[in-house]
């Protein structure tokens, strides 16, 4: 579980060969079984890409021209519409709920994807509960059960440097902890900006 966490863009992202030199990858297939395989490949690619670049949120309009969706070598790109349907697939159960659409104010939206509302999404290369597991495992490993830790300490502190969750999005971190609270593994207290947590 302990992946090296390279700082964003320190090494160039290595695209898989099918992205690099297989043009049909950029056309969504009409055959359903092929399409499912294609969605899975795209899902994996997007998650890897986001992890590599430490992206927790993705804005379609701003990334559609990024190398993720556009291969200038091949002169191929995934159209905005197709990219949206890939993300939509990822948001569903069959896609493992790997993304979550949010509106400008950061509220979760659902329903049929629309151009105006469905532009930005969380990309869960780890879902909140998976993040929670990672954090809980780290706490256990370092023997800090029952110790009160501040959020800042956990996310930005020296002690977590090199951990996957170091420097992660505050909001996502909060959601990860809340899944632990729900499961009774942690307790959150304190006010806005100075929250602390205690693991059991």
């Amino acid at each position: 579980m302990s992946q090296p966490s390279p700082s964003p863009s320190s090494t160039p992202f290595k695209f898989p060969t099918y992205h690099a030199s297989y043009p049909p990858f950029f056309t969504l297939q009409p055959n359903t079984s092929t399409l499912t395989a294609q969605y899975r490949k795209w899902s994996r690619l997007i998650q890897r890409y986001c992890r590599h670049h430490r992206l927790y949120k993705l804005s379609l309009t701003s990334t559609i021209d990024s190398p993720l969706f556009k291969n200038t070598e091949l002169k191929k790109r995934l159209s905005l519409q197709d990219a949206r349907s890939v993300l939509e697939w990822m948001s569903r159960d069959e896609g493992g709920r790997r993304i979550e659409w949010v509106d400008q104010k950061g509220r979760v939206v659902d329903g049929r994807p629309r151009e105006d509302t469905h532009d930005t999404c969380w990309v869960f290369w780890k879902r909140p509960e998976e993040w929670g597991d990672v954090i809980a495992a780290w706490v256990e490993e370092t023997g800090q059960k029952g110790v009160v830790l501040t959020f800042y300490e956990l996310v930005n502190g020296e002690g977590t440097r090199g951990e996957e969750f170091h420097g992660m999005d505050q909001e996502l971190f909060r959601r990860a902890l809340s899944t632990l609270v729900k499961r009774g593994k942690a307790q959150v207290f304190g006010g806005e900006g100075a929250e602390g947590t205690k693991f059991f």
Binding site: T17, S21, Y22, T27, T34
Partner: protein
């Protein structure tokens, strides 16, 4: 000996000899040899050609199909059918003489040598037939002489004695017949013969019921045949209503026993044939009839090598009348004699010079060698002029009327072919048209060639279906091969109708119906429907899997042959995409067919598509097949679907609701 083995075409129709033409086809036909049904030959098609009468079995056409050459037929008889007995046409073989038999008929000769007595003499036939159920029928009784036979005068109904010197086996119509003793009118020969025979048969039956009335000549008389055969089987079919051995027929209305030759009941006037026609209709509806009046020969041999006295074609679904008429025509025309005959002498030959024209090897009718001593260009021009005139005359007279056309068909075809050869520099389309119209003269299935019975529509369709299959698989024409083994039904319809030369065109609806019959008739072509509704014609053995394999093999090839375009991807790994146009070019398909085949392959997951500015390209499907890059498979990324607790609970609830848990 009488039966010849029959070669079938790919469409399970008799393969015709050169010059042979199909005259008539009738389905639901059974075959008799002598008086006995031939096993395995009871449900088939009868094909009448100018040279042969063929029987093609419906169930096992390759095994049980036989033909009778018309040139070995001496006489043929027609029997209209009676009660349960269907109409029949009887063919009698010629008394075999070695000089008559062609080299093909070796078996015939040997059979004759084995049985030296001529088949028509009454002491032969059934005895020599090992397969006959009555092995020792009438040995010794060479010619039964009916001493007290009588015939009933058709005019005054007086019963006259049959003259003692009247022997049914040897009598012929040239004999002088004694007039009626009461009114003095001479009886007709068949009438007298019938009377004599029925007397003889009656007596014989009363003597020994096991003896079969086997006398080859007797069977040439349909009316008698009806009586004897029905009387023969009645005991087994319906014992309670068995009439006395003397053949009489019960009137269906008043139960009066009528004389068999009466068409209406003597007592109440009810038509006696009524029942028979009803039976015929019933038979037409279901060809596989459960019982038939004729006994079945239970020997296993089909009579191919056997000495046969006569062959009967039983028409269970009608069509016998037209068949008979056409048979009559064919027997009169004796087309088989023309097989090696020289072409018709042409009538336009030079009123100017007395020389016969010479038909050149290329079919052009050449003028006789020049008599005039002109030389140089003038001579050439004259020659050319004469040639043109001659050809003009040939064509002109050919179109005078249809008969003339048929008569000069050979020449016209030769001309058309030579024209098409000559005009090589001309447009190829014209060439093709001419060539095809020439070929069209042997395209045969037309409506008037088929029986007009109840099932004629389906017979027409099935015959056309076979015709089409033959046309498609004919190697000489190579229609399918030219189109890369697949062509759209519409194209085929156009080509086929054009090949018919503008006559007897087929309506699209019937054409489609006929094409849909291929599968049912187990013909070597098949009709396939693409998912957008396009109908195409293919060889039956050409399946989707084969097509896909073909496409994939080609795409594999492309891994090693870089495209001329500047390619900026790793073509050795993924190959490249192909367009429908390229595919059409590669396999000789039409573009429509190619794109349909590609989409079919895509549907099956073998290919996938790339939509781009240059159009649609198809690629090998690496999306499904290829695993994700090896180095990233253990990257901790999860793309599997989630199953939430609510989901599982929902499933659990559903199962409980259904009572499964």
């Amino acid at each position: 000996m009488f039966f010849q083995p029959l070669d079938l075409t790919t469409a399970l129709r008799p393969s015709l000899l050169p010059e042979e033409a199909l005259l008539f086809v009738q389905d639901a036909v059974g075959l008799y040899e002598g008086k006995y049904k031939l096993p395995n030959h009871q449900n088939g098609h009868a094909y009448l050609t100018t040279h042969r009468v063929c029987y093609v079995d419906n169930l096992e056409p390759r095994k049980n199909s036989v033909a009778v050459e018309l040139k070995t037929v001496d006489r043929y008889e027609f029997y209209v059918g009676f009660l349960k007995s269907s109409a029949k046409i009887t063919l009698h073989p010629k008394a075999a003489k070695p000089s008559v038999t062609s080299s093909r008929n070796q078996s015939l000769i040997s059979a004759q040598l084995a049985a030296p007595s001529p088949p028509r003499s009454s002491s032969t036939s059934p005895i020599h037939r090992g397969s006959s159920p009555f092995p020792n029928a009438r040995s010794g009784t060479s010619t039964p002489r009916p001493s007290n036979a009588t015939w009933v005068c058709t005019i005054c109904s007086f019963s006259n004695p049959v003259p003692l010197n009247f022997d049914p086996a040897t009598a012929n119509s040239n004999m002088s017949l004694p007039p009626c003793l009461s009114c003095g009118i001479k009886p007709s020969f068949p009438h007298l013969l019938k009377a004599a025979i029925s007397n003889a048969a009656g007596r014989r039956d009363s003597q020994s019921p096991n003896q079969a009335p086997q006398q080859p000549l007797l069977e040439s008389h349909g009316q008698y045949d009806a009586n004897s055969s029905s009387e023969y089987t009645r005991p087994s079919i319906n014992d309670s209503s068995t009439p006395p051995a003397k053949s009489k027929f019960q009137c269906p209305r008043c139960t009066f026993l009528n004389h068999p030759s009466l068409l209406t009941c003597e007592l109440c006037g009810a038509p006696l044939l009524f029942e028979e026609s009803e039976a015929a209709v019933a038979i037409g509806e279901s060809i596989g009839r459960p019982e038939s009046p004729g006994p079945t020969m239970n020997g296993s041999n089909s009579g191919l090598d056997n000495d046969t006295e006569c062959v009967k074609f039983s028409f269970r679904a009608g069509g016998e009348k037209i068949f008979y008429e056409r048979l009559k025509g064919a027997m009169v025309q004796r087309k088989w004699l023309l097989q090696n005959a020289p072409p018709l002498p042409d009538s336009y030959q030079s009123s100017t010079s007395g020389q016969p024209n010479i038909v050149g090897p290329d079919g052009i009718i050449r003028p006789p060698t020049e008599r005039e001593r002109t030389v140089g260009i003038a001579a050439l021009e004259r020659q050319g002029l004469q040639l043109r005139k001659k050809n003009e005359a040939v064509i002109g007279s050919a179109f005078e009327d249809l008969d003339a056309l048929m008569a000069s068909a050979k020449e016209i075809i030769a001309l058309a072919e030579s024209f098409s050869k000559k005009s090589d520099d001309g447009s190829t389309e014209t060439n093709q048209l001419i060539a095809e119209s020439a070929k069209a003269l042997d395209m045969v299935t037309t409506k008037d060639m088929l029986g007009s019975s109840a099932g004629s529509e389906s017979l027409y369709l099935s015959e056309m279906s076979r015709n089409l299959a033959e046309y498609l698989t004919d190697d000489a024409k190579g229609i399918l091969r030219k189109e890369g083994g697949i062509m759209s039904l519409v194209d085929l319809w156009a080509v086929f109708n054009r090949a018919r030369g503008g006559v007897e065109l087929i309506s699209p609806m019937e054409f489609e119906k006929a094409a849909r019959l291929w599968e049912k008739l187990k013909l070597p072509v098949r009709l396939r429907q693409f998912k957008n509704g396009l109908l195409v014609v293919q060889q039956a053995d050409r399946t989707d899997d084969k097509t896909i394999a073909q496409l994939l093999a080609w795409l594999q090839e492309l891994h090693h042959t870089p495209h001329s375009d500047n390619i900026n991807w790793d073509y050795e790994t993924f190959g490249r995409g192909v367009t429908a146009q390229e595919t059409a070019q590669r396999f000789g398909w039409s573009v429509g067919v190619a794109s349909e085949e590609l989409e079919m392959a895509e549907e099956k997951g073998a290919l996938c598509r790339e939509e781009g500015v240059e159009g649609l390209r198809f690629w090998e499907n690496w999306i499904v097949e290829m695993s994700d890059d090896d180095d990233v498979n253990d990257d901790g990324i999860d793309v599997e679907p989630v199953h939430t607790v609510e989901d599982m609970e929902q499933v659990q609830r559903n199962l409980e609701d259904m009572g499964l848990i």
